[in-house]
Each structure stands twice: as structure tokens, then as C-alpha cells.
């Protein structure tokens, strides 16, 4: 038989490093690394600039908006805090909760009861509400450790269902189905602000504080541990991450955020009633974080804008069946942006950067 071997390309066994023409020039890669570092620094700087502009705009809004619009934006901020809390748990840590409306309710009622029953100054009730929810979330997080995915989702769903009923049951404290009526606090230090404007700034301040804390928490060591548990639970444990502790702590922190949001909502609406904290609220939160973008801090803000304003638009479009419009909108939105607004923006940026780098290297 004839020897008929076709050789194509380099001979097998040839030196692997030279074959691909891979650059082995160390200065080249160092230059590339330095390039990456400067782009990252530039990215941080531009991000900070964008943030400052955003805060400035937020501070200017009360000057131009009507009280009603201002109230709506206060709501957006409150939702954003709650969504960030839920996102820490669901987006970053991978624990799906359908029951965060319950913690929102607990936060709201903590504030309402403290003011109504014991005349506590409203300012103190906000951190206390956060603390109460932290403890409640941490405690709920312990049995929840045994549950994963769907079962956890349904256990939390049960929590969301039970809370309004329990609130109605302890009528002495909660006022039953009638709820508790509060009065809106006036601006302190004789600031020239209406009650609504003051609450707007208060909420904005809390939002900035909590987003700052959250951003710091998530980008650091703790954040990496939280994400590692979501992606590779067993590997994370093997690396010495105390999974049980981290998961229940994450639950606690998440609940605390939502609790603070609930407390603020009690102050802003000046009224709490059990039926406001129904299952649909919890589902709305979930909608918010998915639409906004999972595992994204800015996603919380996008999601909050969506859940505050889109139902209103739906109402404007069709008086007869507004929720049908909302539902269609929800579905279409998921088609166009299956990873939420923040996810799509991130993807868009990456494409843009890639394209830009491409044109630069051609030159």
C-alpha cells in the first residue's frame, strides 16, 4: 500500500508556543495591562461624574415638579431601596424570594406602631425598622438554608401570604383592617420645605446612603463570597466561606433594606393597612428586579422606575383593561431585554467598546 499521508499545517509535536504566532513579548502584555487599568480608572471617573449629575438632577426635581409628581418620585426611591435589598438576595446570592412584601410590611408597621403607640420620633423609627427586619430576615434565613430554588421561593411566598392575615389578627397593635393613620412629619430646622419636599429629600438621602453601603458591600470581599455561593456553592464552601452564615446574613441584610423602604413608605403615605401588603406587592418587587436587571445596583433604580410608572402609562393607554396592556408590556420587555435594563445596557456598552477597539486597531 502506498504511504499517503496528507500533512496540513504545522507538524504535530512542534513547539506549541510559536505555532499560533502567539505574542510572547512581555512588554506588550504589560502595556496591554496598563491600558486596561487606565480604561478602568477612566470608567470609574466617568461613572462618578454621571452619579454626581444624577444627584444634582434629583436635587433639582422638587423645584420643577408638582407635589404629586414629587410624591411619585419619592415612591420610586423607596422602591429602589427595596429592590436593591431583594436584588442582593436574589440577584447576587441566588436565593429567590417571593415574599419580600412581608418585610416591607414589617418595616412599615414597625414605624407606624412606634409612632402611634409610643410617640417615638419618626427619625428613630427608620433604623429600628431596618434592625427589626434584619433580625426577622436573619431568623427566616436559617430554616430557609435547607431550601433551594423553587422551594425557597414558595416558602417565602407563604410568608407574603400570611403576613396580611397576621396583621389583621393582632388588631390591638395594628388597628386590624382599618390600619393606622399617621401624620406627615414637617421639615426640621425650619427648612423652607413642604412636608412632601422634606420627605423627598429624606428618602433621597437614605437612598444614597444605602446604595453607597450596598455598592461597597457587593464589590468587596463579602460581595465576592455572596456571588461565589450563588455560582459554585460547593467550591465556595471548599474555599472556607461559611455558607450558612453568609446566606442567612444576606437574607438579613436584604430584609433590612426592604424594611427601611417599608418604614419610609409608611411615613410618605402616612397610612398603613394590611391589604396594601398583599402578595402582588412581593411579585411586583420580583418584576422590578428582573426588569431592572439581576445582580446590578443600578438595575434597582431602573426597576423602580418601571414598577412606579408603567402601570400608570398602561392606565392612560386603555381605561378598559389597563392590566392587559401592562402584561403585554411586561412580556415584550422580556423579549427585548431578557436580562433586564441594566443587563442590556451593559451588553450595549460592551458591544460599543468592542466596536471602538476594533476601529482603533484597524487604524
Amino acid at each position: 500500500m502506498d504511504r499517503q499521508i496528507t500533512r496540513q499545517g504545522p507538524v504535530p509535536g512542534a513547539d506549541a508556543a510559536t505555532r499560533d504566532g502567539a505574542p510572547l513579548d512581555p512588554t506588550g502584555s504589560a502595556r496591554a495591562a496598563a491600558g486596561i487599568a487606565t480604561t478602568r480608572a477612566r470608567g470609574d471617573a466617568s461613572r462618578l461624574a454621571a452619579l454626581l449629575v444624577l444627584v444634582a438632577v434629583a436635587c433639582a426635581l422638587p423645584l420643577v415638579l408638582s407635589n404629586f409628581r414629587l410624591f411619585q418620585f419619592t415612591q420610586v426611591f423607596i422602591y429602589a431601596i427595596a429592590l436593591l435589598g431583594l436584588n442582593i438576595l436574589t440577584g447576587y446570592n441566588g436565593q429567590i424570594s417571593l415574599g419580600h412584601g412581608a418585610f416591607y410590611a414589617v418595616g412599615a408597621y414597625t414605624t407606624a406602631i412606634m409612632i402611634d403607640q409610643w410617640n417615638v420620633d419618626y427619625g428613630w423609627t427608620i433604623p429600628v425598622a431596618g434592625l427589626v427586619c434584619f433580625v426577622a430576615g436573619f431568623l427566616f434565613g436559617i430554616p430557609a438554608l435547607r431550601l433551594e430554588g423553587l422551594y425557597l421561593a414558595l416558602a417565602t411566598f407563604a410568608l407574603a401570604l400570611a403576613v396580611p392575615q397576621i396583621l389583621k389578627y393582632f388588631e390591638h397593635w395594628t388597628g386590624g383592617s382599618q390600619g393606622i393613620v399617621l401624620s406627615k412629619p414637617d421639615a426640621p430646622w425650619s427648612l423652607p420645605l413642604s412636608a412632601d419636599q422634606w420627605l423627598y429629600f429624606l428618602t433621597l438621602a437614605v437612598l444614597l446612603l444605602l446604595f453607597g453601603l450596598g455598592w461597597n458591600l457587593l464589590r468587596g470581599r463579602t460581595g465576592r463570597a455572596i456571588v461565589a455561593i450563588r455560582d459554585h456553592p460547593i467550591a465556595a464552601e471548599a474555599m472556607g466561606i461559611n455558607k450558612a452564615l453568609y446566606k442567612s446574613l444576606t437574607f438579613g441584610v436584604s430584609a433590612a433594606y426592604v424594611g427601611v423602604a417599608g418604614a419610609l413608605s409608611a411615613l410618605v403615605i402616612a397610612f398603613v393597612a394590611p391589604d396594601a401588603f398583599n402578595v402582588f406587592l412581593s411579585i411586583t418587587f420580583l418584576v422590578g428586579i428582573v426588569i431592572g436587571g439581576l445582580a446590578s445596583v443600578s438595575g434597582a433604580l431602573w426597576g423602580a422606575l418601571f414598577i412606579q410608572f408603567v402601570p400608570n402609562w398602561a392606565q392612560d393607554i386603555s381605561k378598559a383593561a389597563p392590566w392587559a396592556i401592562y402584561g403585554v408590556f411586561l412580556i415584550l420587555f422580556m423579549y427585548v431585554m431578557p436580562r433586564g435594563i441594566a443587563g442590556s445596557l451593559r451588553l450595549g456598552w460592551a458591544r460599543l467598546a468592542r466596536a471602538r477597539r476594533g476601529t482603533r486597531s484597524e487604524r
Partner: protein, 236 residues
């Protein structure tokens, strides 16, 4: 005549290109093997042939273009694939697995005879017939994977590393069956292997793949005698 003709096949996972224009053919009634180290793109080649990846290039089966077709349609043409990691349905019984092997075939007559045939080829599967596949040993699962592929009555059998992680005795058993069905039923075989010695002894034609490119091809016997191949792949 070539049963399977592949020209300039390219494939990628995400942004990473894994196959850079691979060309090869499987003769009708022949056994062709694709050799290569870990990560050379062997498994990707099989997956690309089956339409499990988005690809560029042309794939012809029996003269007809099959690139761009859905996996299930390609299978229905008579290409059975025993995938990497065996891909058995671990919660179903051995018999149910075999039943599903015949799912993609049009002619369901003589199903009973096909069961008998694979049980005769792999007697151990007959004993395990009502056990769930998850309870089988690694070797038995590999046998089940091959048996399930045979239930399609394929014209072309794609085998992805059937020797992986198995004892030499079991590997020999499986290779014996592959040779049997190739000779007796004229099933063409495309075998992807890291165990070059075994593969070259079975195949009549071989291709060597490195980092997504075919770097050498020829008759299996010739490749076995080639110095470079011997050094890098046969280890003597």
C-alpha cells in the same frame, strides 16, 4: 463513496472559535477516527456535525446538505450519536432508554428483534433491563449509550470517546461490538478518541486534529507508522 463529507467546518462557543475550517470524510461502510489531544476540538466536531452548535462550512450526508438542520432532523436521517459523557437518561430504565433510541426512526417494525440484537451484543444490558440507567456502572452506561444509538438502525454512528474512564477490558468489549456492527450491518462509524492506539487499530482512515485544525490525515495503518504520531500520540 463518502457517506459523510465535511468541508471547512467552523464552530465557536461564545466569542471563542474552536474549529478553524476542518475538512474530512467518512466512507460508506468504513470506520474513520479523529484523533487529538484534550481540547483539540474533537467533541466539538461531532457536535457540529449533529447541528448542536451554530457552524459555518458544509456538511453533506449521503450527498445532501445537513448543515443548518436541527439536531433532531439530522438524527432522523440515520445519524446516531453516542455523546461525550454517555448522555443516558439516568432516571429511566435500560429498556426505556433503548425504546427512546428507536424514537427517531420511521420504520418501527421488528422493534422486538432490535432489542434482542442489542441484548445479544451486550448481554449485561439484558440482565439490567428493568434497572434505571443511573444505577449502572460506567462501562455498562457506555454500552447502553452505544446500544441506544444502535436502536436507531443508523447508517452512521458517531462515537465520542467511548473509552473514557473505563477499564481496558470493557473498552475492548465495546470496540469489539463496534467492529461487529460495522462488518455485519455495514454501519459506518466516526470515532473520536484520545486512546490513539485502540482507535487506529479499529479504524481504516484517520485524521489528526490540533487546536481546531486537521494537521494530518491518511490510512490508519500509515498514521500508526508515522514517527511524529508515534511520538506524540502512541507514546513509544
Amino acid at each position: 463513496m463518502a457517506l459523510l463529507e465535511v468541508e471547512h467546518l467552523e464552530a465557536q462557543y461564545g466569542w471563542t472559535k474552536v474549529l478553524h475550517g476542518v475538512s474530512f470524510a467518512v466512507e460508506d461502510g468504513g470506520i474513520t477516527t479523529i484523533l487529538g489531544a484534550n481540547g483539540a476540538g474533537k467533541t466539538t466536531t461531532l457536535r457540529a456535525v449533529c447541528g448542536m452548535l451554530r457552524t459555518a462550512g458544509t456538511v453533506r450526508f449521503d450527498g445532501r446538505r445537513i448543515d443548518g438542520k436541527a439536531t433532531e432532523d439530522i438524527v432522523r436521517l440515520g445519524i446516531a450519536h453516542a455523546p461525550e459523557g454517555r448522555g443516558t437518561f439516568v432516571q429511566l430504565t435500560v429498556e426505556e432508554n433503548l425504546r427512546l433510541g428507536a424514537y427517531g426512526r420511521r420504520d418501527l417494525r421488528d422493534l422486538a428483534r432490535d432489542y434482542d440484537r442489542v441484548y445479544q451484543l451486550f448481554p449485561v444490558l439484558a440482565q439490567r433491563r428493568h434497572q434505571t440507567a443511573g444505577t449502572l456502572s460506567g462501562g455498562e452506561q457506555q454500552m447502553l449509550a452505544v446500544a441506544r444509538a444502535l436502536m436507531l438502525r443508523p447508517r452512521l454512528l458517531l462515537l465520542d470517546e467511548p473509552s473514557l474512564g473505563l477499564a481496558p477490558l470493557v473498552v475492548r468489549e465495546i470496540f469489539r461490538v463496534v467492529r461487529t456492527i460495522n462488518r455485519e450491518e455495514r454501519v459506518s462509524v466516526l470515532l473520536v478518541e484520545q486512546n490513539a492506539a485502540m482507535a487506529l487499530s479499529l479504524a481504516d482512515h484517520a485524521y489528526l486534529v490540533e487546536t481546531g485544525r486537521v494537521v494530518m490525515s491518511g490510512a490508519a495503518a500509515d498514521l500508526r507508522r508515522d514517527d511524529a504520531v508515534r511520538r506524540s500520540y502512541l507514546g513509544y
